[in-house]
Amino acid sequence: MAVSWLHKFAARGRVPVFPVLGKQGDGVLRHLALSPRIELVDSPRHASVLLVAGEVPADRCEPLRRVHDQLPYPFTTLWFRSEPWPHLERVARIDDLDDLPGALVTAHRELMEGRRGSAHRLLPDEPPNPWEGEGDFGQGGEGMMGGVPYGRPMAMNMEDDIRDGLTLDSLTFRLGPFFFAFPPGMAAEITLQGDLVQTWKTQLAPYPQPLDEVFFDARQRPVPIAEVELARARHHLHQLFHALHLAGLENVSLRTLRLAHGLSTSSTLDGLRRALSRRGFFRLTAGGGVLGPEQARMIGGPAARAAGLDDDLRAEDAGYRRLGFSPVCQTAGDTHARWRQLLDEIDQSLHLARLAERDRVHTERTGSVETPRGPWSARRPADASALFDELLPGLEWGDALATVASLDVAGLADQPVGTRPSGESRAVRGGTGNDV
């Protein structure tokens, strides 16, 4: 009796959702972040619903199974724009973004009230290595460091420390592709000594990211600069949203998101910029990750300009020149410089959009376009996640993740982003973006 009362009560809370991102799934994140009934969590242990958003490529199915099995009972799954695995019981596929929050709430409620059974484990119930009853004491190990006690070998020293000459143990593990602080789809093999990154090998590149249609159009024909610049600013704001969540600034990250959703030529960035610098975002948070000139050129775009390269295809466009465009730059090239650069560029984009809208200016150069991710003339900006392999070793964990968040490395997809889901604008709930 008391138990059912407890379950009824549990059904009324916010729905803790662990999102697993497939291709083009990150839009869901931005939609759900503003939904009051949904709580996006960073660890599957803290969730009752596993949301698979977007199509998960075959090489990431095994990790998905692993994550699926890591949710504690009772839990259920929901598949968004992705075909559920046939052997799962009672799973629902949702395709309309507007239905998603409601479906998540329903799933959680049914689960809590016992109307829906919990999902089951997919992987066999076996330790990573057989150990029981083996070894000197039945713990699976041998001697002091050998064997596989409780199923895994012990951490051992593989390489010298890179900082202070105390060579202690290092830990090697693979992180991702469903680690929230990484670009969607990225996975890396990392060796840590203490909390310092010793080596970093990017194993799976992030999914190619779809860009707004207007950038594709701009390569074919002149398009209104106002539209291009608003799309650019929106792209940057989305990146900032993820980074601010990582830095623990939940409310500013949501403010950024609202600004992005309601972005128009009358939006301003002043409030956001002020909030960030007042709260010490540039002084107190993790930083590091200085790009050298070669690396900066390789990645291109705002990251390169933050490192002092003033390459920008917009400077070669007569339409932009008429608006008085010249590239803005930073010199330091580190994480904080990239954020300053991004804010400056968003500001500049909004300014250009305002001027362009007033004077109805269009782009004039076709065939090449400066995307938010970098210059796209002959080739699309390609994936640059291999850059992390040389950039991150030597950084401590927080700095490494902040650096990852500050770099937009994913290559561009060959398709523009699908029809913009109508839900995104509705979720804003009265936020025009002006009042931030």
């Binding site: 070894g135 000197d136 004491f137 713990q139 190990g141 041998e142 001697g143 002091m144 460091m145 050998g146 064997g147 006690p149 409780y150 012990m154 051992m156 020293n157 593989m158 390489e159 010298d160 900082r163 202070d164 000459g165 105390l166 060579t167 202690l168």
Partner: protein, 211 residues
Amino acid sequence: MESMNHGLGVDIAFLLLATLAVVTGWRVFRTDSMVRASFFLLVSFIAVGVIMILLAAEYLGVAMFFMMAVEMTVMALFMVMFMMNPAGLNPMNMVHQERIAIGAGVAGFLILGAMALLATFPDQPVPAGLEPVRSLGNEMLGESMLIFESAGLVLLTTMIGVVVLSSHRGRYGAAAEGSMPPGLEPGGDPAGKPEEDEAGEGGHHHHHHHH
């Protein structure tokens, strides 16, 4: 009546705390996990600290808590840093000359215990009105500033000493100097470690000499 009750309660508490202190003190050397060992020692210290409070040494007892909490945290950090198999995933027994050690331990206990039982000490309990903390403070700030000054200087020396010894920017040169390659093979003993005789009798020996 009230005071007798109180006395009995204190006796029971003392008995429990004494058992706790001894058992956890013993467990320090009987557990495989270095973290557990450090925190067992911490519990032993805390038990002794509570006994001190029961003895009206309120400052010393409570100070024991915070001093030892910090020291044992640091102890745990260093134990984990420098001991192979710090969590004791493989049970191990890293002892040498165990029989001698047991003998010495028991002998120490017997001698000291006999002294405690046989010797007579003056019976001069703490006077009723004494404020232990105040008297301690007065003693420290006594006629001269000797205690404070010497303590300050000794501790400053310690600070400088630990910085010099432990910081890799210290006078012992940069990090790379003097550091040796890691073990010849994974899990083996560090290269350059001197051979030792296998005199230890303490059961399972942890060294595996690979040749």
